[in-house]
Amino acid sequence: MAEPKKILIEHSIFLAVVTLCGFLIENTYYLQILTFIGINTILALGLNMLMGYAGQVSLGHAAFYGIGAYTTAILSTTFGLSPWIALLCAVGLALLIAFVVGLPTLKLSGYYLGMGTLGFGMIVNIIFREWSSLTGGSSGFVGIPMLQIGSIFFEAGRSYFFLVWAAVFIAVVLCRRILSSRMGRALRSIHDGESASMAVGVNTHFLKLQIFMFSAALGAVAGFLYAHFVMFISPESFGFMVSVKMVTMVVIGGMASVWGAILGASLLTLLPEVLHSFQEYEMIIFGLILMLVMIFMPQGLTRGLLDIYEHSYKKAGVKKF
């Protein structure tokens, strides 16, 4: 029974690093970047469950991110509900929509599934833009309130950093739980061979639907966190390019790896910040890095870096995780 112990150690390290970062880093700018990394990690975690484990690609996942953000914005601002109730509604709505959309869409596969989810994402984005009486349209939605528990306000900086990374931690633990359950094993069997797992009695369609709903719910949580952090949302934050960016995070980080999601989200959030100084050449360099990582580490960074480690040290018995 080494697995649970290892997981416990990993989780403790993760918590320790987050706490240390939270207390040692003073500068609001760095805390803000880490907050964005956290939000993106939640997105990548959800999508990673769908892509890495269930083997289903979604090119419209930003829709759920947006649904989360807009639901909480509208409920808490226009209707004056508590944001925490709005969070429940946002997750509920995302689950419901994922169920309705997933039912027919997940019957598709390959590029057709990609197209189906892409179309769904586009439609949701157009709704954000065109239903302007409710969403504020293209100009965006202003005046989203700050989060608050009792007398603690969560505002940009340390408090929000801890809030977001607490959510990341919960998401990581949830993903791990699902993966080590019966469901997780069934999931991996779908990834390796859908027909084989169907033959041994796994209800693949229902399983895919469940995972799709789970990742949608995580997307909605991320949207909720984004909306109350920036306190302003507009449709372009949830468009097609954002969906593509999410897929890129998962693939670059390494599919089917929880830590890969964190790595991918960090890289794709940090890279543009760092590339600022290249100004006009930013796009060229960003594109190049994306291509190079994929050419030389087609399994993603987690796998690739591990390979390098193993190659260069050639130590016997280096364990893979």
Partner: protein, 388 residues
Amino acid sequence: MRQSKIRSTLVVAVCVMLMIAPIIGASSAMAASIYKIGGVFDSTGPASFLGDPEQKTMQMMVEQINATGGIDGNMLEAVIYDSEGDPAKAVSAVNKLLHKDNVIAIIGPSTTPTTLAIVNFVEKAQVPLISCAAGVEITSPIKPWVFKTAQSDLLAVAAIYKTMQSKNIKKIAILTVSNAFGESGKKQLVGQSKEFGIEVIMQESFGPNDTDMTAQLTKIKSASPDAIVCWGTNPGPAVVAKNVKQLKIEIPLYQSHGVASPKFIELAGDAAEGIILPTGKILVTKLLSDDDPQKKILAKYEADYKAKFNTNVSGFGGYSYDAMVMLANAIKGSGGDKNKIRDALESTQKYIGVSGEFNFSATDHNGLSPDAFVMVEIKDGTWKLLDK
């Protein structure tokens, strides 16, 4: 083995790049007695036609001010980031300016959504912000630390409607681009129509990258309005102008100040003939009468810009010109104190700039009067002033 070498070289290269980049960015940030001013512009991305000239103008202005000895003997330094039109990137850029570069004031961003996304952060950090975006929402309600220099769409619509009244136009159809610019225009066009006794009988829209608008125009044609107002930024409106000619629609076409640049005439070609639009005075500097107070400033800006960047000046760069001049005036004597700069900005009176005459007050953080716009018609491939 060779494989792993290539891989490790690559990884090392990436890491080195990641480490060097911030150093390059920060290396020039050390010396004392320097006023750092931040800039956030949409220099690339869909709004680059705004962000690019704004960024260039800000760089030019900082150089000019430094060449004449800076402000109170202190040199200025511009720290400029590109938000790419993405609100999340604008937030990161502004936080970097506020907390890492420690700027004393910020100019930009270029669009309404990117501005609204950062307003809360600027307010909290209490640093003056002069936005170059047009949306009315930015300065109403008034936020203590937020100003803007771009003419509101409100004024552009008022200018168009005034011209329409004089031409006895009663029914119009509007065709707006489906982004923040078009939506703000639509809101103003519909909102102010009653006031001017004009009826909006049809509202259509087009996507920023659409290649053909004949379907919308056919629909509009069948409703036979007295005029069509198209609200968008290049290239969409140029396609609309071409489509109007192709469909042989004889209804007069009005455009917004979003296309008020020589580029529009170049794009639309012959189809631009007869189009009427509002513009800041920069486009028609030569046509202004000599007693126009803005003429001298406009001519100087135009000449300086052309000399430095070897391209024609665009009216949009003027937003950051005005922001920079007013900010420089406000910094004078403040010793770099943000509160003093804010107060000085708010009490700016009778500053005559590229976009018009500014009179800021505690209740008006845009400060432009309706005569900031003039109406022009495109004739023989150039602009012609319309009489008021």
